[in-house]
């Protein structure tokens, strides 16, 4: 298993750093901007960013700050896809280490910005105009499958093998950026909001008087056996 796929409920962790800032270093805002540009220009999607983070050593995943992981993921991806070489990146990094005030090249056409801002304004809805025929309806008891996830999933690991009740059947059908192979995502399918009793997930380790809701793609669900 990838620990990143089943963080929910992990025990014995320390306190949360209640840091309210979005960026804690100026360079983080720049790498975020690069990510948005890459999304807007269809260079990559959330799927690639997430897969990169999920492919990390789980202890590094906890150790590195959020945007440190983005920096590593984006660097690796752009080199792998041939936008520039590792040597170019290392040389350029060395340059700015020596001359932090060195100016940057002029850049491409400003019409590029229009594409990116248009992406931000329009988004990239995974909803597809096909006739969905949902297998389940609100109130149905469903069992979450233990699908054979490999690199990537959108099924929170703590729900695998657990039973919940369909709360909402979302209208339409929803695709995903990439196929997740035997995990099951890719083709448009119904998505459900499923409500779980935390005691059914974590037993006596759950808190009292709670509800846990998750949005779950249909491929991850089957009808729960009769009680």
């Amino acid at each position: 298993m990838k620990l990143q796929h089943r963080l929910g409920g992990l025990e014995n962790l320390g306190p949360v750093n209640f840091e309210r800032r979005v960026f804690v270093q100026p360079w983080e805002e720049r790498i975020f901007g690069i990510h948005v540009a890459m999304m807007g220009l269809r260079i990559w999607t959330w799927a690639e960013l997430r897969m990169g983070a999920e492919a990390m050593n789980p202890f590094d995943y906890f150790k590195y700050r959020y945007y440190e992981k983005w920096l590593g993921g984006i660097s690796g991806f752009l080199v792998e896809k041939g936008y520039f070489t590792q040597a170019e990146l290392d040389e350029r990094t060395a340059l700015y280490l020596q001359q932090s005030e060195a100016t940057l090249p002029a850049g491409g056409e400003s019409t590029i910005n229009d594409t990116i801002i248009e992406y931000l304004r329009t988004g990239d809805s995974p909803q597809r105009d096909i006739v969905a025929e949902p297998k389940f309806k609100a109130g149905d008891r469903v069992l979450v499958k233990d699908v054979p996830t490999i690199d990537h999933t959108r099924l929170p690991g703590h729900l695998r093998g657990k039973t919940g009740v369909v709360d909402v059947v979302y209208e339409g059908a929803f695709t995903y950026f990439v196929s997740t192979g035997p995990d099951g995502l890719g083709a448009p399918m119904p998505v459900y909001c499923v409500c779980f009793d935390p005691k059914d997930i974590w037993g006596s380790l759950a808190e009292d008087n709670g509800r846990f809701y998750a949005d779950i793609f249909e491929t991850y669900l089957e009808a729960a056996p009769a009680e």
Binding site: F32, L41, S75, G108, N113, R154, P156, E207, D215
Partner: protein
């Protein structure tokens, strides 16, 4: 990709660059520099993106929505049942149903129910209304702990939820981006929408804090 990632992390692990932030800043600048040089982005692309999140997409939008819902029961009903139509009425600049806001949903705090939004798999967040997620929301420790022990985590954040109040945790694992419609606090009678909006924080709109009212001057 994971190898490149490790390679890159190795770069600042092995002490070639003693100060990690200095290294990361140079690396980020090198990325932007190369993307500009290759013509992939324009010279002002990153500035434009940052600017967009300062003016078009941010928690200032969510604050206005919540404030309106507090003073206009019909709008509140619409927000909870047909969010896209409600948001359209706000007159926001284009993009209020844009990136990471294509499918948003408001969940309402009441005297009986407290809602907390999390994303155990990554950091899904309703950009058009709340902007970008704060660090605590992205922290793997928060994501792991809040799923199972939301009351304890909220208590550590300074927010005590009475036992009798049900805590609902919403894990953003597919297309929906959730936010919380907090309870209108006491002591805000007669405040304008603008005054009410100024009370709202991203934390309050994720269920991680209550809405604070400054003591009357």
């Amino acid at each position: 990709m994971s190898n490149e990632m490790e390679h890159s992390h190795d770069g600042h692990d092995h002490g070639h660059h003693p100060e990690p932030e200095t290294y990361s800043a140079a690396r980020a600048k090198a990325l932007e520099s190369l993307l500009r040089e290759k013509g992939v982005i324009a010279g002002d692309t990153i500035d434009k993106v940052i600017d967009f999140f300062e003016h078009d997409m941010g928690p200032f939008n969510g604050a206005k929505v919540v404030a309106k819902a507090w003073v206009d029961p019909q709008f509140k009903e619409l927000l909870l049942t047909d969010l896209p139509t409600a948001i359209q009425k706000m007159g926001f600049p284009p993009g209020s149903d844009g990136a990471e806001g294509e499918h948003m949903k408001a969940v309402e705090n009441t005297p009986e129910v407290h809602n907390l939004i999390i994303c155990t798999l990554c950091s899904c967040y309703p950009w058009p209304l709340l902007g970008l997620p704060p660090y605590w929301f992205k922290d793997p420790t928060f994501r792991a702990r809040a799923a199972r022990e939301p009351r304890r985590v909220l208590s550590e954040f300074g927010l005590e939820i009475p036992d009798a109040v049900e805590v609902r945790v919403w894990d953003s694992s597919a297309q929906i981006r959730y936010f919380v419609l907090p309870q209108k606090p006491e002591g805000t009678e007669g405040m304008s929408e603008e005054e009410l909006a100024s009370l709202l924080t991203p934390e309050a709109m994720m269920g991680a804090a209550s809405v604070q009212v400054p003591a009357a001057a």
